[in-house]
């Protein structure tokens, strides 16, 4: 349903050209959730903003059932925009503090002419609030009167107001208290299954991405380094960067932690203006060889439906490549 082809976003800065997103391609099937995971500067949020055209891509195509979001204008663009919506990290910053929740939702319904007539819109506002697990009374509240979790529910209701097919979720639970994250995650899962939604779930938190995604894409310095089913990518990754990322994430189980051999990744993220030649990860990679400095590895199919951009995946992880790391899109 969603096909992203060679998406690029470059910025000219005083220090030079920043390749925020540098040739990213992926597809997402209807009803599927693709997780995009990576650290700061990897280009995941820039990708998110291009998907909903908050940012214009430098080049590349974003095809929604064949229509190109990247080049659309005017009426075509606004039609496409109501099919693909975004939920932001900080619901507080994305809601107008002067408007009640009801007004915010009512405006979306009115402007997009989804529902005609004030009474019908009011009914729809209440339906939307109910859909995200809140009572109709919330319609009369202002954003500052709500908790973080409630505000994020309103952010989700606003995205749902235009009845989209695809929702881009950009760090939707990262700003919330730990005890509130679970209910928003459960809500997102329920809405996806009930409404048949397609998600692009973007997060720096591998645990959350693992929990909700059918497939996972790992990004680093504007490129995709690995792409495959949620379980192979998170549990048996075929790229050394994904391995390091997984090692770095502490597991909330002291007995597991005590047994883990965590290799601490050396160095820092390279300068985006002057990215390394060859493999982008070679400056920090524990397995880098001469070839990695000279030759950019392709994102190639290393195991069934599992792609990694590393010259040496087979040699580094023979067992995981051999077991074929079961194809993506398995059970939820």
């Amino acid at each position: 349903m969603l096909v992203v082809e060679d998406l690029v976003k470059h910025y000219k800065t005083r220090d030079g050209l920043v390749r925020a997103v540098d040739g990213v391609s992926f597809t997402v099937e209807r009803g599927e959730t693709l997780g995009l995971v990576g650290e700061s500067g990897c280009g995941k949020s820039t990708t998110a903003r291009m998907l909903v055209r908050l940012l214009d891509p430098t080049s590349g195509r974003i095809l929604l059932d064949g229509d190109d979001v990247a080049s659309a204008r005017g009426a075509t663009l606004s039609r496409l925009r109501s099919r693909i919506q975004m939920v932001f990290q900080d619901p507080y910053a994305s809601l107008d503090p002067r408007l009640t929740v009801g007004r915010t939702l009512d405006e979306v319904l009115g402007v997009r002419r989804i529902v005609d007539g004030a009474a019908a819109r009011r009914t729809r506002v209440h339906e939307l609030l109910e859909l995200v697990g809140m009572g109709a009374a919330v319609a009369d509240r202002y954003p500052h009167q709500l908790s973080g979790g409630q505000r994020q529910r309103v952010g989700i209701a606003r995205a749902l107001a235009v009845e989209p097919e695809v929702i881009v979720l950009d760090e939707p639970v990262s700003a919330l208290d730990v005890s509130v994250r679970a209910e928003v995650m459960n809500l997102l899962t329920r809405l996806r299954d009930e409404l048949g939604l397609t998600y692009i779930f973007i997060s720096h938190d591998l645990g959350m991405v693992r929990h909700i995604s059918d497939r996972i894409a790992v990004m680093y310095l504007g490129r995709m380094l690995e792409l495959g089913g949620w379980q192979p990518v998170s549990d048996a990754p075929l790229h050394p960067y994904t391995r390091s990322l997984r090692d770095a994430v502490p597991v909330a189980d002291p007995e597991v932690e005590a047994l883990r051999e965590v290799t601490t990744l050396r160095g820092e993220l390279p300068d985006a203006v002057d990215p390394p030649a060859g493999c982008l990860f070679h400056t920090r990679c524990p397995h880098a060889e001469d070839r990695c400095l000279a030759e950019v590895p392709d994102l190639r199919e290393v195991a069934a439906k599992h792609r990694a951009a590393c010259h040496f995946s087979e040699r580094l992880y023979p067992d995981d490549v051999a077991t074929g790391a079961p194809a993506g899109g398995v059970s939820r």
């Binding site: 730990v178 509130v180 909330a252 932690e257 059970s331």
Partner: protein, 335 residues
Amino acid sequence: MNDEVREPVLEVRDLHTVVRTDGHDLPVVRGVSFDVRAGEAVALVGESGSGKSLTALSVMGLLPDAARVVGGSVRLGGRDLQSLPESERRRTRGAQIAMVYQDPMTSLNPLMRVGSQVVEALDAHGVPRDEARRRAVEALGGAGLPRPERVARRYPHELSGGQRQRVMIAMAIALRPTVLIADEPTTALDVTIQQQVLALVDELRRATGLALIWITHDLGVVARVADRVLVMYAGQVVEAGPTRDLYRAPQHPYTAGLLGSIPPMLGTERPDLLQIGGAPPDLARRPSGCAFHPRCPQRVDRCVEEEPVLKPRGENLAACWVPRDHWVPAERAVS
């Protein structure tokens, strides 16, 4: 080394702190007690408003103007810090107990080279200039900064977030304190950089016998770094115990809820996450009885009326009226 025989270097007893709000004293830390021994890592875990950071600032004597300690004692190496005059307390800070914060940019002077800032911290404690310069470079190197002489000449904005946090750690350890309080020092960092900082602090603890208090909301970080844990909620410790016991058999429904709300990193099943309804309370509107009762799946009438106190439960201490073997299975989902 046996924990029982080691004397605690820091003893906090029945600490009470209030914040002046609209003419009233709002209790924000309510009867917090804990010990830390040399070489030990104790985690203070909690969400926003739990009082974990104010507990740390109370221990440091660095509370903001509106806040003050109104009860309890803080003993460092046997001396009661509360009874010391401010001048002497200032000498203790840095020399014996130091703190690193979440955002190094707010604690570093943007107009001063980072090396000079470490030198100044040493100088303030009477270390002669020449020696201070040598020790500053040594501390920057000890905090894992490559080519510390060069880093010393940089300004904070010329460094990455991870490097700035290393500078903060260098400043904190330069005077070789016995206790280090780390207040969410890795929350703003990427996970691979967080891991570098966790490894660094752990190495310092092992090498120097530093007593560590790690303040965080991240139960993964706690599992990786802490020997013991205190779980805070609405200004109080609701559960405390050795990390393994507390995770294996949490004795407070809040701890159990927090642990259940985290997606597992293993296994093929992905059931809905355990959810705690509601949100952490506004301290100005603290619920009656047990502060957690409005969100608690195990609530009984007594919880609404009477405040539970910390009591031994299994290997842990927990402030809950309902013993674990009487708990009903907590609901998963349906939002």
